[in-house]
């Protein structure tokens, strides 16, 4: 396989779950290369294995068999600590359910990955967390608790958190699944800006219009990739946002 130009190389990935006597195939022989700077949207019906795939390439889960290289590293040969380092430094993961720490302020949530990165001192950590929050438009909410933030804002905190250690790739499993159209587009705007700066983005979505913001679309069915196509008529989030009817003045201002 061609490792050099690709950030992510997946070969013959298989993942099965044992449910009693039955074997559930979540992934059947998935092979995929993702280039540096790509913006991939993964689509597919429920249960087709999208989340399973994301968790494996996000180094959160192990497959049953297969090979996986990220940034020229043979992931399944690494020990747990090296995997943790990989998650910390090279991958930013975003969940549908936000997964930010409750009763912990926005800025402390964003600081979290840097606490596990010994090269960063307190001063730099605070500065970078603040900068990341600013880049997602949440500077004024830095000291708010998650329960004082809207869903869209919480997801933006999660995005800021995924950014602070300057990852090579951002992986997002249905990042807009719990959000309304405006918040979703705002997230897409952030993603497109990041992608323009060279960060690779892999994202799962159920919504056709969200997939239109990516550069390529991949369709999963039954644990297999069925199509891998370039998006024609790619949408630009900043322009789409202008066309949305103004519903809430405050929402725009934050």
């Amino acid at each position: 396989m061609d490792i050099d130009n690709n950030l992510i190389c997946v070969k013959n990935l298989v993942k099965t779950y044992k449910m009693g006597d039955m074997q559930v195939f979540a992934l059947r022989n998935v092979t995929l290369n993702i280039e540096k700077g790509a913006f991939v949207a993964i689509m597919g019906p429920s249960g087709s294995g999208k989340s399973t795939f994301m968790n494996v390439i996000g180094c959160l889960d192990y497959p049953t068999s297969g090979e996986y290289y990220i940034d020229n590293e043979n992931v399944f040969k690494l020990n747990k600590d090296r995997l943790a380092e990989l998650r910390n430094k090279k991958i930013g993961f975003i969940f549908q359910s936000f997964n930010i720490l409750a009763r912990t302020s926005a800025i402390e949530n964003v600081e979290l990955p840097m606490l596990y990165n010994s090269g960063i001192d307190t001063k730099e950590r605070k500065e970078r967390a603040m900068a990341a929050l600013k880049s997602v438009g949440l500077a004024e909410r830095a000291f708010h608790m998650p329960n004082q933030l809207s869903g869209g804002q919480q997801q933006r905190v999660a995005i800021a958190r995924s950014l602070v250690n300057n990852p090579l790739v951002i992986m997002a499993d249905e990042p807009t699944g719990n959000l309304d159209t405006r918040s979703s587009y705002e997230i897409m705007e952030i993603f497109q800006n990041l992608n323009d700066k060279g960060i690779t983005i892999v994202m799962v979505t159920h919504e056709m219009d969200i997939a239109q913001f990516a550069r390529t679309n991949i369709l999963f069915r039954d644990g297999k990739i069925v199509t891998n196509s370039v998006v024609v008529d790619r949408k630009i989030a900043s322009e789409e946002l202008k066309n949305l009817p103004v519903l809430d003045v405050n929402e725009i201002m934050t």
């Binding site: 720490l101 402390e108 979290l112 596990y116 250690n165």
Partner: protein, 406 residues
Amino acid sequence: MKLLNLLKIAYRSLSKNKLRVLLTMLGIIIGVASVIAMLAIGQGSKENIQTSMASLGINSVMIYPGSTNQGGVRMGAGSYSTLTLKDVDAINSKCDFVTDVSPVVSKSSQVIAGNQNWHTNVVGGLNQYFKIRDLTVSVGSSFSATDEHTAAKVCVIGQTVSTNLFGENANPVGKFIRINSIPFKVIGLLAVKGQNTFGQDQDDIIIAPFSTVMKRMLSTLYLNSILASAKSENDIDNAKTQISTIIRIQHKLTHADQDDFTVRSQADIAKTFESISNVMTILLACIASISLLVGGIGIMNIMLVSVTERTREIGIRMAVGAKSRDVLFQFIIESIFISVLGGLIGIVLGILIAFLVSYFGKWPVVITGTSILLSFIFSSAVGIFFGWYPAKKASNLNPIDALRFE
């Protein structure tokens, strides 16, 4: 990861659950406080025994009439009439390990001075009695050889007696008191000695010449006890054997006969009490340790609940790059934090309890650095020990399993 960061993480998550942390700590606080207080009380009574031993005359040897276990029935020492002045003379002339000897007789008596009266123990002894018991006369003097010869009606009184008969700070020397209606002249006041190990007031005493008490107050030939002092601390045992041998000869006892007297040194008594107080200390320490153990189990319980409750949090931390050992340390530090802080509060509380006991219970306490250090180390160890399992459990989780946990 840096230790400082770990401490910060542990502090942040603990500060979100203050009440729970406090309740968990309570077990450790009570455990440590009881260890400190118990050891302080135990150590206090031990040192009290040592000092009161020294104040009684460390080399002194007492001879009581009657065996301690005659016919299997224990009788109070002094309920037998076997010792006489001849025994005293024999010890005096034949025991070369003994320096001073004094016969002792005593009678509990009513004492009157003016319109005040007081009930106390009147002891008759020789001049040596003062020396053996390490008593000093602070005002006036003790009696002379002439007083002994003439059975003079003079006495030396303790501070408590003086206070009760003549009032606080009065000088009793030269005044007259009536003991069982017999007038005595007070010629000396004893220096204050305070309570002894058994809580007896050592200043509640009147000492008169032996012959005076024997002839004028008692009508008996027998002694309550004989008091002697060995030449040195090393000679105590020799003196005891020598005295035993001599008195056995004096009493014409055969091999088949048991002693009709008992020889005890001050050191023996102190040793007995020291071993009793040692047993007490160990017992108290055991009880305290058990409460520490229970406190530790409390920590483990809460940490286990905490790990389960915070599985998602662990998953999130792992997803953003926490290694297994980061999670392990976070939870261990949390439990150490609980136990160390609990330990510190417990130490303060224990010292406070010890002082209250000594203040209100009039019981001597000694807080040693070792007991503080020991309970501090022990409580930290409890934190590590009982925090380990829940922490290990948390750190062994897979990121995805932790994140999926409901």
